[in-house]
């Protein structure tokens, strides 16, 4: 068995930044130091022994497998919490995404007689409804991530996948009846993307707070 325990030199070549960032998104508080540290330790050893290209390939392979395992572990360790968070997020999205349409209906019903005089304002409001839908998705992503503490990315990605599945089913249904509008296609994809972005925002903020905190959860320092 090879060992790097005798090595005390700081690493010369850094591992792939994107891979390090991805690992950071999926590790829990307990693993936040150990997993990236272990990967860096082995990466430095492999880079000095077999070359940087080999070490980078190894790092990416480990990243892909590690994220898969950590995501699976997040579901297995708290299945009911994850299910509750995803169902709650789904219902919240249904409620929030309906609000801009209700607001628009209320406004147009009240000021319909002036529409010809304020046509540009109506156009702006119509465009604004789309943006409000996107903001609702972002807010849902943030709230789901906030509720799924420590499993932010897994929860938001699972919710986004639910919407992607529904969208795929709708796409098949629409495609059989009329030609697909590419703009509509892109717009429909933006909702799940915004949910994941919400998770990313919350996760990044929590990681920063955790890194600045002197105490770690669940483990004792020797």
């Amino acid at each position: 068995m090879r060992s790097q325990e005798s090595s005390t030199q700081p690493p010369g070549m850094p591992p792939p930044r994107v891979a390090v960032w991805l690992i950071g998104l999926f590790t829990s508080d307990q693993e936040a130091e150990a997993v990236p540290g272990d990967l860096l330790e082995e990466f430095s050893y492999l880079a000095s022994r077999s070359g940087v290209v080999f070490a980078r390939r190894w790092y990416w392979r480990q990243t892909a497998k590690t994220i898969t395992h950590l995501a699976g572990a997040a579901f297995r360790s708290a299945p009911w919490t994850m299910a509750a968070v995803i169902v709650g997020g789904f219902l919240l999205h249904g409620f929030l995404s309906g609000l801009p349409d209700k607001f628009l209906s209320a406004v147009t019903d009240r000021y319909l007689m002036f529409w010809s005089a304020h046509f540009q304002a109506y156009t702006w409001v119509l465009n604004g409804v789309g943006i409000a839908h996107l903001m609702a998705s972002l807010l849902v992503g943030c709230m789901v991530a906030w509720a799924a503490k420590g499993r932010e990315m897994v929860a938001t990605m699972a919710l986004a996948l639910v919407f992607c599945g529904m969208f795929a089913a709708a796409l098949v249904w629409v495609a059989t009846r009329r030609p697909i509008d590419v703009a509509w296609l892109l717009w429909a994809c933006s909702g799940p993307f915004a949910i994941v972005m919400g998770g990313l925002i919350v996760r990044t903020r929590r990681s920063r707070n955790r890194d600045s905190s002197p105490t770690r959860l669940g483990t004792t320092r020797a």
Binding site: T8, D38, E41, L70, G218, T219
Partner: protein, 122 residues
């Protein structure tokens, strides 16, 4: 099968938690490594002895599960420069974990008793 019998099986299984294959391998690696057991050494020990590639995520996911069951306990070491100032997380098997390894090992031995595995494979 009656419902009462089904509940009896569930009760027996919850009381005697046998280890999964990878859990068993991880606990054996921890017992071999003693006080040197952390992510890198555990992963390398398993790769060296089983000749299969293991990801660090699989090791930690299983170790966290074993810790939740009370079979292992962990502590953070001091930050080291070769790890970019990050700490090692050392693992140790508890008495409950040793008992689980023994129980699983005995169960496997009972299952293989009397079998001529070499001839069966040939």
């Amino acid at each position: 099968m009656t419902l009462a019998y089904l509940f009896y099986i569930v009760w027996i299984m919850s009381g005697r938690d046998y280890l999964g294959e990878f859990e068993h391998v991880i606990l054996l690696a921890l017992l071999r490594l003693e006080d040197r057991a952390y992510g890198v050494t555990v992963r390398q020990e398993i790769e060296f002895r089983t000749k299969r590639e293991v990801s660090i995520g699989a090791v930690y996911a299983t170790l966290d599960r074993l810790e939740a069951k009370g079979y292992v306990k962990s502590r953070l070491g001091e930050p080291t420069p070769e790890r970019g100032g990050r700490s090692k997380r050392f693992f140790q098997v508890t008495a409950k974990g040793v008992a689980a390894v023994n129980r699983t090992h005995r169960a496997l031995q009972r299952m293989t008793d009397g079998l001529d595995l070499v001839r069966s494979h040939a």
